[in-house]
């Protein structure tokens, strides 16, 4: 299963990728913003983990754009962000995000959210 990890912070991308490796997912692709993520997204990606605040294209705009593509309609999108007010969470949900992790997160939380979305990713 291939993961697309989208975050403008190289530190955060590395933390997420290492966390994924630790729970057994070694196939990952990285992007530094929504535009790059859209360019890198293809049919081989089964799961997307994205930040919200990024230059060029935010995580919510990227998710909306992804959902408008035939190959991106059903792919699970997990947002990992520092934003945590209710309105933000609702906006992310409306954009098409499937689940939400608040930074800073623990590996356990990441694993729980991924496990919950795996059936959709495998479909």
């Amino acid at each position: 299963m291939k993961f697309l990890v989208v975050d403008d912070s190289a530190t955060m991308r590395r933390i997420v990728v290492n966390s994924l490796q630790r729970i057994g997912f070694t196939d990952t692709v990285e992007a530094a913003d929504g535009q790059e993520a859209l360019a890198r997204f293809d049919g081989s990606i089964s799961f997307v983990i994205t930040d919200w605040n990024m230059p060029n294209m935010s995580g919510t705009d990227f998710t909306r754009a992804l959902r408008s593509r035939p190959d991106g309609v059903n792919v699970p999108v997990l947002m990992v962000t520092a934003r945590s007010v209710k309105e933000d969470i609702l906006t992310a949900m409306e954009a098409g995000v499937n689940n939400y992790i608040v930074k800073p997160f623990t590996p356990q939380v990441l694993k729980e959210k991924i496990d919950a979305l795996l059936p959709a990713a495998a479909a």
Binding site: T81, R83, I101, P104
Partner: protein
């Protein structure tokens, strides 16, 4: 204060002062070939002129006071929140450093224990495996503690944006008092110094992540229940 507002205040101040100036000039010029006075009534109109000028100047002063109050309120609120953010950056950095140092201490003890196991005549492989597993957990925890860097960089970007905004306001005030001051170079520098607001969350924090995660979980769970 916007540059439009500044220009308006300056225009009104200048207009009021010109009114007084022209009135007084007209009254003073008593030569036979002098142009007609702006106020034909002569000195008898002086109180009226001064009264009108006074009213206009009072209006300008009121606008200046109002603008100053607006600047002070906004500036103080923003500076107070920036101060809090910078304090939080210091605290988050220290917490992360202490967590990493503690994990380093524990990891060092585990390496020592692995050395001791290896030195035994019949090394306990099972115990060594457990220690290695715990050591990996510690190393992973150290990496996770580095998440503070992403959040504190957002907090610093917010603080930087507030400072850039304050600088722009000070330039506006400088223009208000001296229109000849050339601030074009400062303005372009200030504009280019501002961080991209799309790249940070002004409310980013390292605090209360568990309760904030609980809120997100509650919202998503409720949405799923409604959908089902």
């Amino acid at each position: 204060m916007s540059s439009h507002r500044t220009a308006q205040v300056l225009y009104e101040t200048e207009a009021a002062l010109r009114l007084v100036d022209r009135g007084l000039d007209g009254l003073r010029d008593e030569r036979p070939d002098a142009p007609p006075a702006f106020f034909e009534g002569g000195l008898s109109e002086l109180p009226a002129i001064l009264e009108r000028a006074n009213a206009q100047i009072l209006g300008v002063l009121a606008r200046l006071r109002e603008s100053r109050a607006a600047i002070e309120t906004t500036a103080l609120e923003k500076l107070a929140s920036t101060h809090e953010k910078i304090k939080e950056v210091t605290s988050a950095t220290e917490d992360a450093a202490i967590n990493i140092m503690d994990a380093c201490d524990r990891a060092t003890q585990m390496v020592d224990e692995l050395d001791a196991i290896d030195a035994e005549p019949a090394p306990n492989r099972e115990r060594a495996g457990e220690v290695r597993g715990t050591l990996r957990d510690e190393l992973f925890m150290m990496m996770g503690a580095l998440q503070f860097q992403d959040i504190t960089s957002q907090q610093l970007a917010h603080a930087s944006a507030v400072l850039v905004d304050m600088e722009a306001r000070l330039i506006d005030i400088a223009r208000l008092f001296d229109t000849k001051v050339d601030v074009s170079s400062f303005v372009s520098q200030v504009a280019s110094a501002a961080p991209d607001e799309k790249t940070y969350d002004p409310n980013a924090t390292t605090r209360d992540s568990e309760s904030r995660q609980a809120l997100a979980d509650e919202i998503f769970t409720a949405a799923r229940s409604n959908a089902a």
